[in-house]
């Protein structure tokens, strides 16, 4: 009748989902950027200790990790073990590990290489001291005790 009348009935138009992919993509990029793929599988249990005066660890590519704790698999006993990369190791393996880590970095970056010790809080200091002595011998003086930030109480 009137020339402005629409062809269809009075159906409510569906909500446009055209921008949905864009929103999802935005989230996707956020997670892609913040994701850090775990490159090592943890063989030791680490329950980190906490402290108040902590600093952020910068330049993660220049950090090599040494894990110390009890083995995850209880079959392997409860003695504190050291994990380097993907395998158990002993204190004697540390110089070689540091040498490898150095070889993997650019020459300019080598002196900024930090060794981060991720140690379970129940660990005795003896083993940590041995690691530190070994690091001193090979000249890896920059270390970082990995701890979580304590909540203010």
């Amino acid at each position: 009748m009137s020339r402005f009348k629409k062809k269809g009935g009075k159906d409510t138009p569906g909500i446009s989902t055209a921008s949905l992919p864009d929103i999802i993509f935005m989230l996707l990029f956020f997670f892609m950027v913040t994701t850090v793929m775990r490159e090592t599988e943890m063989l030791v249990k680490i329950n980190p200790t906490s402290a108040k005066e902590v600093q952020k660890l910068e330049k993660k590519s220049l950090v090599s990790f040494i894990y110390v704790g009890e083995p995850v698999r209880t079959k392997l006993g409860t003695n504190t073990r050291i994990q380097l990369n993907d395998a158990f190791a002993t204190v004697k393996d540390i110089p070689e590990f540091i040498a490898q880590e150095r070889a993997a970095r650019d020459e300019v970056d080598r002196k900024f290489l930090t060794t981060s010790l991720k140690v379970d809080k129940e660990t005795k200091m003896g083993i940590v001291t041995d690691i530190k002595q070994e690091l001193r011998k090979v000249g890896a003086f920059k270390i970082n005790y990995s701890v979580t930030e304590a909540k203010e109480d």
Binding site: P21, Q55, T114, D120, S146
Partner: protein, 190 residues
């Protein structure tokens, strides 16, 4: 009139993006990236004389294998350690025999500064727990941060971390962090 190109069906785009999103959500680990930075001393050279340091200039902290602490021969606790270290490291002038000696040093931006000659000697047993060791390190760090903050407030009216580079360097010179870790000893057989 040009023929209309049929619109591309983009409704499945959201599903694809969702799949990817869920994958990254699952694999994401927000890892602990905080820690306490320390610099290890270089290995001791063979025949180097151990410097003679007066008793009053040293604060001995000993942590036993049962995680108990001795501060200058007296039992100490984590709660009071920060204050004790602060009191010990605050330069006292005129000379007070109960506290470390001071020396006068000229530092850029600050002029002449009384600098404490105190040294904190930290010694732990091989049986000390890592947790205790970190707690003690933390308390020492807090003490030195507070000392630096007090000093910065007095000189520049700002907290240490708000200072510019040159100022921070000057304050760092005036308040060194003389924590010496003794070579460990095996006191309790562990």
């Amino acid at each position: 009139m040009a023929r209309k190109t049929p619109e591309l069906d983009a409704s499945s785009m959201a599903d694809i993006a969702f799949l990817l999103l869920i994958f990254f959500l699952v694999t994401t680990t927000m890892e602990v990236t905080t820690g306490i930075n320390r610099k290890l001393p270089p290995p001791p050279e063979k025949d180097v004389d151990i410097p003679d340091i007066k008793d009053r200039n040293i604060m001995n902290i000993l942590i036993s294998r049962t995680d108990r602490m001795l501060v200058n021969g007296k039992p100490g606790s984590l709660e009071t350690l920060t204050d004790e270290v602060k009191a010990f490291m605050t330069p006292h002038y005129p000379d007070d025999p109960n506290y470390p000696e001071t020396k006068l040093e000229t530092i850029d931006l600050l002029g002449e500064v009384h600098k404490s000659k105190g040294i904190i000697s930290l010694k732990n047993d091989r049986g000390t727990s890592y947790d205790m060791y970190i707690q003690v390190q933390d308390k020492l760090a807090i003490a030195f941060t507070e000392l630096k903050n007090d000093f910065s407030q007095k000189k520049f009216g700002k907290n240490y971390k708000d200072l510019n580079e040159a100022q921070a360097k000057a304050v760092g010179k005036a308040i060194p962090v003389p924590v010496s870790e003794a070579e460990p000893e095996n006191i309790g057989n562990n």
